[in-house]
């Protein structure tokens, strides 16, 4: 029955729009789109969580697709007609064949203009822009801080921007725009008068970091951590770590700051690098850490100086980042008052350890988190905070490659150690591994496996009440589900 429904979905009127939606969801990445297309069994359920955003490229693509399909169907009918009239031998069979294959044929043909467009239009234009940006970065007199790592890059970048802006003219790459083309657009907008540039590096495959560094030419660099991410392309964690640490070839060792709280970063840290963690940064030590749903506070000490700081960011794992940024700010000439004010302005970013209230319960929305270290931080927070009832919700992580089983078993162990009253897993290919980790640690709470994540998220208000704490980590979009 399912197979029949899936087959019929190829011929539904919504099918062309579904194809364009799949392309849009994968940001027109043809490889990811084709991978998704070929593993899909029923196209009628694809646009479940979201639907096609009718942007100009999407409308053009949809029009082209519909025209192509229409022409093929017309041709099929002509061939069938000729075949039936005995004018063209085999016309009937060929016409029927064309009708049968049109959905699959056009779903694959549609990538051709995209690939060609990328090769002949986008890439040359981007290459030109990138080349120009290299000159802009080279000529810029400000401090250029590169932010690299498997996780926490955007958080670190935003922290640097917020705190350093209290006393300096700072520009940072927007949102999570962190590849060469976005660096190039960022460079075009610079005035040249900035004191500090903060540039986020979004690694995706081996060689990326060195490529970004060669163009942006950083004077300083921060490595936020190494964790299993993009392993489908890096293959091993070691390869990912090597790529991230390749930044060390571009900055002086004493200007390379590494988060030593990241276990997987430690093997790459050399003594001459400046490491920081939850206890110390650039000669400052940390005391009196307090984490609540309103934020995180701590005191940083050096010699006889003590500075009490409070951030709106939630979680002990934020302390290392915060103290480093505060210490760097002081090193770059900010006053204590400026640092204090800057740290106070740091707030949770959307879907990243972002607290909100629902039916009286506290929800920590960390659905943009997508790595093991984030899971470690989220489960640690769940364990640390007091609550009437604790719930933990996750579908698991994506793009974990061959390490997926080991990583998700570890996710299960981490959840079990936080010991929530209820664990909600979204059913997918990694659920079994998480369950294995939970079982390994003898998790005794309630375990729910949801077939329909959207249904659960929509109704989560029914599950919680005042005094409850819910940590939601990661969310699989349609192309991963």
């Amino acid at each position: 029955m399912k197979a029949i429904r899936g087959f019929l979905s190829l011929y539904s009127l919504r099918y062309p729009a579904t194809i364009v939606y799949m392309l849009q969801s994968t940001e027109y990445n043809t490889a990811a789109y084709l991978k998704w297309y070929w593993r899909t069994k029923d196209y009628s359920t694809i646009t479940y969580r979201r639907s096609l955003d009718y942007t100009r490229p999407a409308r053009l693509l949809l029009l082209a697709l519909r025209l192509g399909i229409g022409l093929q169907l017309l041709l099929s009918l002509v061939l069938i007609g000729l075949g039936l009239a005995d004018i063209l031998g085999g016309g009937l069979l060929f016409g029927i064949g064309l009708i049968i294959i049109y959905p699959v044929l056009w779903a694959n043909l549609v990538v051709i203009p995209l690939v060609l467009g990328r090769i002949f239009i986008s890439k040359p234009a981007e290459a030109k822009l990138i080349k120009q940006s290299k000159t802009i970065f080279a000529d810029h007199k400000g401090i250029k801080i590169a932010v690299a790592g498997s996780y926490g890059k955007t958080t670190m970048k935003e922290m640097l921007l917020t705190v350093l802006s209290e006393g300096l003219n700072v520009a940072a790459t927007p949102a999570n725009k962190n590849v060469s083309s976005s660096h190039a657009y960022f460079a075009r907008k610079l005035t040249g008068k900035e004191d500090v540039l903060v540039i986020e590096y979004g690694e995706g495959e081996p060689g990326d970091i060195a490529r970004f560094a060669a163009i942006t030419q950083p004077t300083h660099a921060v490595i936020t951590g190494v964790a299993p991410a993009h392993l489908d392309r890096y293959k091993t964690l070691k390869a990912a770590g090597q790529d991230i640490f390749s930044i060390s070839q571009f900055v002086d060792a004493d200007k390379l700051f590494v988060n030593a709280d990241s276990p997987d970063a430690r093997p790459f840290i050399k003594p001459q690098f400046q490491s920081f963690d939850n206890h110390s940064a650039l000669g400052w030590s940390v005391k009196d850490v307090d984490v609540t749903l309103d934020g995180t506070s701590f005191t940083m000490h050096k010699d006889k100086t003590a500075i009490s700081l409070k951030s709106g960011l939630i979680g002990e794992h934020q302390v290392g980042f915060l103290v480093f940024v505060a210490a760097l700010g002081l090193q770059l000439g900010l006053t204590q008052a400026q640092v204090k004010a800057g740290i106070a302005k740091t707030k949770p970013f959307e879907h990243r350890m972002q607290p909100y209230r629902l039916s009286g319960a506290a929800i920590i929305d960390d659905t943009y988190n997508g790595n093991l270290e984030g899971i470690r931080a989220g489960t640690a927070l769940l364990k640390r905070l007091e609550a009437r009832r604790k719930l933990y919700v996750t579908p698991g992580l994506v793009e974990q490659g061959a390490e997926s089983a080991a990583i998700h078993t570890e996710v299960g162990r981490l959840i079990a150690e936080a010991n929530p009253d209820m664990v909600v897993l979204m059913k997918n290919s990694v659920t079994g591994y998480i369950k294995a980790g939970l079982a390994e640690k003898n998790y005794r709470g309630e375990l729910r496996v949801e077939e329909d994540p959207l249904y659960f998220y929509t109704n989560i208000g029914h599950f919680v009440a005042a005094g409850d704490l819910v940590v939601m980590q990661n969310d699989w979009t349609d192309n991963y589900a």
Partner: protein, 389 residues
Amino acid sequence: METVAVFFGGRSAEHDVSIVTALSSVIKPLELTRKYKVEAIYIAKNGAWYWDEKLKDITLFTSGAIESFIESAKPVSVQFDGGMVLIKQGKGLAAKKQTTRIDVVFPAMHGTYGEDGSLMGLLDMAGVAYVGCDTASAAVAMDKVLAKQQAAASGIPITKFVWFTKTKVDNELAATIKQVTASLSYPVFVKPAHLGSSIGISRATNDQELSNALEVAAHYDNKILVEEAVQNLIEVTLPIIGNNEPIPALLEKPLTSAEDFFDFETKYMQGGKKGKGSKGSKGAQGYSQIPAELPDDLYSTAEMTGLAVYQALSCSGIARVDMLIDSKAGKVYFNEVNPLPGGLYAHNWSKAGVSSVELVEKLIIYAKERAAQRQVLATTFSTNYLQQF
């Protein structure tokens, strides 16, 4: 998996409120537990029963499509065979009869023929477990006059009141007004004795308003209550669950002025505030202060009064006790009991630390617990009476 039948709609002025209670506060959380098979039983305004999955969709009711559904659907019949079985005839010549045995009934009904003990009596006869107050307590609770008398007999403070039959009001209006003014001082509240959701309630400050108020109340009910208004009024309400050991939620204070009161429009249509430009659109959630900001001793007295009323009326499962407070005198009066609060008062329970899912699960447990207690009671008594006859 146990089957829970949720009854809603009914031959009551609160038919529409019941639909919202059932669909948003009962069926959805019950299904989310994934512990029960949930059947929706809709009782139409003419009293016919319908059983269908489609009845779980609120748009069937909001769009008005329920009318065409009723026209085409066949009403359900019930079989009592040591329990309760629903039977639905299929459509067409070869259609199969559909049946299901009900383990627990969750009445999500307000007002007459649902909340007033009528349905509970039927369920008692069927021997099926059901959520909420039993036949006797529901009947007493839904009769505001009986409830006040019962509370007064248990030493719980109540306001001064008189009551009349509809016949008396219809035929001897002037004498009724005289009787009221002889016993009570203005302002007074006039209420249909059996209706909830504040339907038909009016406030009167003179004979003319009283006359109108009596006529309105007599339009809805054959028993009319007139009670003296409390001075320096603070209205509070307390949702309670449990059988022998009742558990209170949080005392809730409606944010209305002393001259105002919760009529149906205020409660359900305006999101809580009277007049134009009112904010909020979540019914009971939009117009209350939870927990009520009262001095500790007054809060505690009100909470204890609520629990005392719950027990005095032998309530079980769930109920909500409304009270009136004279803030200057620091005195708490019992006002009325609602055996099935609209929306289960889930918004209040949520603030008290009980989620919607937990609430319905607890109510099912209480229902089964009470049914088990009844099961062990002796219902036979051996005599030789017949032999002697």
